[in-house]
């Protein structure tokens, strides 16, 4: 069977997933920096919420990544 399209799809998909995750977490980090700059006392609480939100966004990105891996390991 010819699996070349599956491998191509895996590569393109992984790239798109990374773009989505990068944009999302970048926006999140930028808001966190702004908020910490405005109110340095709240930096601890902001950091905790930022890590939780980043892990959730990364979780969604990993859903896509798992599908890409399933495509890429086809033999």
């Amino acid at each position: 069977m010819d699996f070349s399209l599956a491998w191509l799809a895996a590569g393109l998909g992984a790239g798109l997933v990374v773009i989505g995750a990068g944009l999302g977490i970048g926006k999140l980090a930028s808001s966190a920096m702004d908020a910490s700059g405005r109110q340095p006392e709240a930096a601890g609480a902001i950091r905790t919420s930022m890590i939780i939100a980043a892990a959730l966004i990364e979780g969604v990105a990993f859903f896509g990544l798992v599908i890409c891996i399933l495509l890429a390991i086809k033999t």
Partner: protein, 281 residues
Amino acid sequence: MSNAVDTLITVADSVEQSSGPGSDWILHHVMDSKELDFEPLFTIHIPQFPTVFGIDMTPTKHVIFMWLAAFLVILTFTIIAKRYKKSLVPKGITNFFEVFILFVRDEIAKNTIGKGYEKFVPYLLTIFFFILFGNFLGLIPWSATFTSNISVTASLAICSFFMIQIGGIRQNGFFGYFKGLIPHGIPPVLLVLMIPVEILGLFTKPFALAIRLFANMIAGHFVILSLIGLIFFMGTVLVAPGAILFAIFIYLLEILVALIQAYIFTILTSMFIGMAVHQEH
């Protein structure tokens, strides 16, 4: 000097001929297997256990590492509990773990569950330290990460699912819990949509927990193995410095990811318990 380079090239060639680049080599290192291999020294084949009710009871590599992590958790906490009986002032290993235990109890459980959080702290501590020890065990060379096995993370998510439902049902009553899933004051037309969405939401949240932990752990190991495999794939030893440097950086990142993933699993479980127990929010 060129002798060393030549031997390295010969070794690389032989490895390429034997297992070859490609997904099988990487998969062999991340997937479960019935032997513990400490390449290139020796490989321990696990003896075959009998089949019970159609399930093959042979302990595989991940099962053995789960036993090891469970044993380490039980050992550590028995020691800590005994030391606390003697005196409430911690020192040494008790002091080190007190930071984490208080973190789970105060920052995670008390903040997210609120009133009545004490009942859930033992479960949250258990999964936090089990996943933490499991993730860290996977970073030791020649060992396996059992949290990168979807069956293990799915089982942990199922345990969390039962904790959430039992906690919610115990607090709100069986029918009160399901009635409380639907928020107040919505027009009855939307009920047709809200009921399936809420019931589906009960299942998607632990499912996401399982996939998140599984994918994070397996992705880290994939990247490290791919970077090292790049040396063999290119066939030349000249990519080695760059590849090894990147691999070391990803390795250090993996330590951070191990901590963060254990924390995220625990705090999300605790948030879902809080949402189930105190349904007014």
